[in-house]
């Protein structure tokens, strides 16, 4: 325990240090004229812009728009992904019926459907949500499927020996046993939903961090563009860390074997 806390602190210190060093280097290479600030801006200029965008409220508006689309997409992906995953994990026929779509989904780049979605749903939130939903769906579905399907055979046999019925095995063994794997899928899904939203916003939106990035990029305003980029990175880190934390807590649910 003590070494654990110590290790965590050490990791935090080292991580912070490398972060600061990169920031300093970033500033220095521009200050010494090694790299043109047009390409990478500088930490101090980004900081100035951050304050501006905070004050005029645009950062807040864009972050809210992105989070809104993200929440909708992730919510949909969770419901559909876990729903279909459970179905396919438990019923062989359902898995076989869904398989072609999954292969299709794995091999075809989702962004390629962007124009099609625009045609159906128009520019804006519905299309963004649809793209992000598809981004997030695959890992959530795939993990749920494998979690349910690979129900621990020994536990199943124990339950059977006590007279368990199929629904007992589903609710008492398969579903709880799948939780750690499903949560791991959610962690991947969260990252991909955010990516999906930002990518879709780059193409066409009237608010959002992705939109903001594209907007300032068109204006060739690197420092301003860096603000939404940094915000997206921060959001991604926070969301993924939160899920990692939950994932660690469900780790104890994984089945251990003595032999």
């Amino acid at each position: 325990m003590i070494t654990d806390v110590f290790m965590r602190r050490q990791a935090l210190i080292l991580g912070t240090m490398s972060f600061i060093i990169i920031g300093v280097l970033w500033q220095l290479v521009v200050d010494f004229g090694i790299v043109n600030p047009f390409f990478i801006s500088t930490p101090s200029a980004v900081w100035q812009e951050l304050l501006v965008q905070l004050q005029d409220g645009s950062l807040l508006v864009n972050t809210a728009a992105t989070l809104y689309s993200f929440a909708l997409a992730l919510g949909l992906a969770v419901v559909v992904g876990i729903g279909l995953g459970v179905l396919a994990g438990w019923f062989r026929d359902a898995e076989a019926a869904l398989e072609p779509f999954i292969w299709f989904k794995y091999s075809a780049p989702t962004v390629a459907f962007y124009p099609l979605f625009v045609a159906w749903l128009g520019y804006g939130t519905p299309t963004i949500v649809a793209i992000a939903f598809l981004f997030a769906l695959t890992p959530i579905y795939a993990n749920t499927l494998s979690g349910i399907k690979n129900v621990d055979r020994d536990l199943k046999r124990v339950a059977t020996s006590f007279g368990a019925r199929p629904h007992d095995i589903f609710f008492r063994i398969a579903l709880p046993g799948a939780v750690p794997v499903i949560v791991a899928g959610l962690r991947l899904g969260v990252g991909r939903a955010l990516t999906g939203v930002v990518v879709a916003e780059l193409f066409g939106a009237n608010a959002g961090l992705g939109y903001s990035i594209a907007y300032y990029a068109q204006m060739l305003q690197t420092s301003r563009m860096m603000v939404p980029i940094v915000t997206v990175i921060l959001l991604g880190v926070i969301l993924t860390q939160a899920l990692s934390y939950i994932e660690k807590r469900t780790e104890a649910w994984r089945v251990v074997h003595d032999n």
């Binding site: 536990l155 046999r157 124990v158 059977t160 006590f162 007279g163 368990a164 008492r172």
Partner: protein
Amino acid sequence: MAEIEIRNLGIDYRKPNSDEVFAAVDDISLSIAAGEFVSIVGSSGCGKSTLLLSVAGLVKIARGTITIGGRPVSGPGPDRAVVFQDASLLPWRTVLGNVRFGLEMQRWTGGDLTERAMSMIKLVGLARFADYHPHQLSGGMRQRVNIARALAVDPQVLLMDEPFGALDAQTREIMGGELLRIWEGDKKTALFVTHDIDEAIFLSDKVVVMGRNPGHIKEVIAIDLPRPRTQEILDTPQFTEYRRRLRAHLAADMAGMHFMEEAA
């Protein structure tokens, strides 16, 4: 209590990646009286688990019959409980929750489930650990929970498949002694698979020696040692004689295996 009657039992398994079947055990006949403690020994792969699982109703009977208290076995039933080699506890449930599990699956109607589970947890000496999760327990403690879960449903027949197989020799000896103490409480009919000859003699009224290809019974040795038994019994001449006989049987089986490998 119930007696077990096995007549000309044969169990077939499918060979991996083919439709061919082979007999894992064949032509097994064995009578176990109510309240008797019977051990099964034999080299690895000779069909000990298969025999036990068939009594549990967890594998399909291809030939012959098994009856328990006169009723033929066709699947699992509340008259039997299995202690598997792997503790196979639900990691998301506490010790209490795990011991309750069997009762819940059986739709136990003999009173309050938690009370019943707690009394079994006390019986195996884990009262202080009722709120622990399996990953917080030692291997020996997990096996105690495994045993308590089986005892909780108050089966007439207790089926144990190398329950102490993963434990070190010392823990194993202690657990064997405790198992006997518990068993002597209400003398359930017990079928116990083990690799350990001393363990088999120490615990049993009868030791069944199995041979392989296909699994069959080579000999049934009655253990005529007084009960209740304590560790001192291990050093008596009678015990040593039983040990010698069983060793000879198993050694012959091993020699046979060796011979077959050379012939192949």
